[in-house]
Amino acid sequence: MPEHDKVLEVENLTLKFGGLTALDDVSFHINEGEILGLIGPNGAGKTTCFNAITGVYKPTSGTIRFKGESLAGKKRFQITQAGIARTFQNIRLFPTMTALENVLVGTDAQHSTGIFSALFRLPKHRREEAEGHDRAMELLRFMGIQRHADELAANLSYGDQRRLEIARAMATNPKLICLDEPAAGFNPEEKRVLMDLIRKVRDQGYTVLLIEHDMRLVMGVTDRIVVLEFGKLIAEGSPAEIRDNPAVIAAYLGVEEEDAS
């Protein structure tokens, strides 16, 4: 596979908090236009891995390359502006802002209006406001929550808040979008709808990194899966391969299947 097709390359990523090793020598990559599932039991290091990719944590060792460029030393907002967006496992919207404004903050990542453009209503301000507004409404419509555009984010239902988080992340116009358990707390029907939506997100040209607990859903929606356990990568492959991998079954599926049935 040619080098440029890899959107993200994680190489020998290790992250230690004091004596605790949260991620131990993890390597994987994400190809352009695919949906990669990141799974593992609780505490396996999935969210830590997200945090390392988006610049929240600094890797103890190892490198993360995005479109061939190392992310080391980049600030969080620079990583977002470069094209990696994320949602949060625990919803973190801006509660006193409307749904539309939440998404507008996302679109602003690609804008450059400053205080003078705003103060004197320069053409740049007008153009970017109009563009941002159109894009934000389009995304709200895409997520099916345009009716709530002008409600405060805090007043949205739980499910709509999760959808709004995805819209806000997409608004930053990322190449790679990282979804941290976007279906947490959803009922099976809602989950199914959301997974269809994630496929649509990919079809729009985004590359998706997905953390999800529900095995059946992950199997259905992803192109490839990476499995973490206790901070170590234990398997990587297509959903079918992962399903038959003895290590994964031992670490994860056995327990999960019992819970599910």
Binding site: T54, V56, K75, R76, F77, T80, Q81, A85, R86, F88, R92, L93, F94, P95, T96, M97, T98, E101, L104, V105, G106, D108, A109, Q110, H111, T113, G114, I115, S117, A118, L119, F120, R121, H125, E128, E129, G132, R141, F142, M143, G144, I145, Q146, R147, A149, D150, E151, L152, N155, R168, A169, T172, V193, L197
Partner: protein, 380 residues
């Protein structure tokens, strides 16, 4: 947020634009005419009404500036009087103590100096959050005052006098109203010269202050309704999430600090010019607290709310001067009552009212939009 006032506000918002513009102009004219009308009950017995109104506009200006820092960006600043002092001292030095500049030249320099002060204070300190920032800024306000006290170059305790006044332009005289007989009568023995910045008549200073407040109010709205305002609000609500959505939060916090300082410096410069004299006693910690009280009482984050807060904090103690020292006690009690009854301030930002109004517009738009959207069926 009582439903009655909410209804009133939305009805106001729903008025046609020409009506609104006329309404605003009428309100502004009334505000300008207030010291000439000298309405009974409202005007201050025993204190010059024009002077009190000028003080009110300065508090309004400071409240608007501090609201950017505290209300929009969520940075607790307990040393705002420091910026006020930098503006005042710069104007004082340039127009009287060390040079002879005209006020209109010294004032912008004072504002730029304050802006620089804001950046210099903010750059190292905005890395700390919450309570720590409050402590650091508190120290800053006091340091500025002690520098003034201990430096010969800034006039020490004696202060600086003969600060330049704004240039006068004596065009015509406007009579005041006289209410002595119970009916308002034009009193041609009591007139204000438009516009003479003298010693006795404070009203032209009020007009100047009011004009500046209106300009800052408009600028505040233009900045808030933009990418900058959204970035401030997002940073205030969740700094980490904002950063991960591409907002350079540190830069925006610094911008809020600098913008707030800029306005504070402007207020300080105007204050120095009106007073004609300043000394370190004019910039006590007490003022930082009063400024913050104006913002918090009014409802931080709402520009009209903080203006109301400023009016209350600056005006009420002057109106009820006859109660002497008790007014401070009453003021304290009022603050405590407010904290219990309306912890969000008298007029917290009313986002929801605007939200509802926009929703109706959107419903209108959606009716024209065909329903091929796949998500629509899912939601139903």
């Amino acid at each position: 947020m009582s439903p009655r006032t909410a209804g009133f506000t939305s009805r106001l918002v729903a008025l046609p634009k020409p009506v609104k513009i006329v309404g605003w102009i009428a309100l502004a004219l009334l505000a300008y005419a207030l010291p000439l009308l000298e309405p009974p009950l409202i005007s201050t017995p025993g204190v010059d009404f024009g002077g009190v109104l000028f003080t009110v506009t300065m508090y309004g200006l400071v409240a608007l500036g501090l609201n950017i820092v505290v209300g929009y960006a969520g940075l607790l600043d307990l040393g705002y009087v420091g910026f006020y002092a930098i503006g005042a001292y710069t104007v004082a030095i340039l127009t009287s103590f060390h040079a002879n500049w005209p006020l209109l030249l010294a004032l912008p320099v004072g504002m730029l100096a304050t802006l620089a002060g804001g950046v210099l204070l903010g750059a190292p300190t905005l890395r700390v959050r919450g309570d720590y920032l409050a402590i650091v800024t508190l120290g800053f306000g006091e340091i500025i005052r002690y520098v003034a006290i201990n430096s010969e170059w800034l006039g020490t305790q004696k202060g600086i006098s003969n600060i330049a006044r704004p240039p006068s332009l004596e065009l015509f005289e406007i009579p005041h109203l006289n209410w002595d007989t119970g009916v308002p009568l034009l009193d041609f023995n009591d007139t204000t010269t438009f516009v003479e910045f003298g010693v006795l008549d404070q009203i032209p200073y009020y007009w100047m202050g009011l004009t500046v407040v209106i300009v800052v109010l408009i600028a505040d709205k233009l900045i808030k309704d933009s990418r900058v305002g959204r970035a401030w609000e997002a940073t205030r609500e969740d700094e980490d999430a904002a950063e991960l959505m591409g907002v350079p939060t540190f830069r925006y916090k610094l911008l809020a600090f600098a913008t707030g300082a800029f306005v504070g410096g402007l207020a300080g410069g105007l204050y120095a010019s009106r007073q004609n004299f300043i000394n370190p006693q004019s910039f006590l910690l007490m003022f930082s607290i009063l400024f913050l009280a104006a913002v918090v009482i009014g409802g931080q984050g709402n520009r009209w709310g903080v203006l109301v807060g400023a009016v209350l904090v600056a005006y009420l103690p002057q109106r009820f001067r006859e109660f002497d020292d008790f007014r401070v006690l009453v003021f304290g009690l009022a603050l405590v009552a407010l904290a219990i009854l309306r912890p969000e301030g008298l007029f917290p930002p009313r986002r929801t009212v605007r939200a509802k109004q926009l929703e109706q517009e959107l419903d209108g738009l959606e009716d024209g939009h065909d329903e091929t959207d796949g998500q629509e069926a899912v939601r139903a």
